[in-house]
Amino acid sequence: DTAVSQTPKYLVTQMGNDKSIKCEQNLGHDTMYWYKQDSKKFLKIMFSYNNKELIINETVPNRFSPKSPDKAHLNLHINSLELGDSAVYFCASSQDGSSKENEQFFGPGTRLTVL
């Protein structure tokens, strides 16, 4: 009955590899997000996506790409992983136009370690 789930919770990989992190929400929300939390715990938006638009934070390298097979899923694909990509990645969702607009529910996070 988890609201926002992410897989895997931990990911250890070598530099240069390509990896994906999956996110699913069962809240019926129409907007999903990816955030990156660095080693100093600073949280920064990477993408937001609904069926109307994809908003990309301009500082995100184009090695990162969100892929949404349907409204309940927003996966994060990362090409050519670099050491600096090591972080915790959070998926979140919200329902636009509701009485709780912009109230975002977060997944448990995926800790990515690049060796």
């Binding site: 609904n50 934070n57 912009n102 977060f106 448990p108």
Partner: protein, 115 residues
């Protein structure tokens, strides 16, 4: 662009006492939301409290309340009757009104609760 500032990297409080965490923000938006999220060691991001900027009344959720000063762009969190389970990193966040709007987070305040 919005900025959110949390000037207290660390705070401590005695169990059963009250503590206030500070947050200031800067924006040119007229309609927005403010949030406090809690991140315990489990790293799960948990919404603590939410405030709509158009509401003058300060939000409360059980032992948690805010002091929202719109003119001063200040949004502090008060935790009453602190409990050991309140120990966590607390993040203040700003969210503009509208669809697919991304949250801007402060740098966080690490709260320690002393028995």
């Amino acid at each position: 662009a919005q900025t959110v500032t949390q000037s207290q990297p660390e705070m401590s409080v005695q169990e059963a006492e009250t503590v206030t965490l500070s947050c200031t923000y800067d924006t040119s938006e007229s309609d927005y939301y403010l949030f406090w999220y809690k991140q315990p060691p489990s790293r799960q991001m948990i919404l603590v409290i939410r405030q709509e900027a158009y509401k003058q009344q300060n939000a409360t959720e059980n032992r948690f309340s805010v002091n929202f000063q719109k003119a001063a762009k200040s949004f502090s969190l008060k935790i009453s009757d602190s409990q050991l389970g309140d120990a966590a990193m607390y993040f203040c966040a700003f969210g503009p009104s509208g669809s697919a709007r991304q949250l801007t987070f402060g740098s966080g305040t690490q709260l320690t609760v002393l028995p």
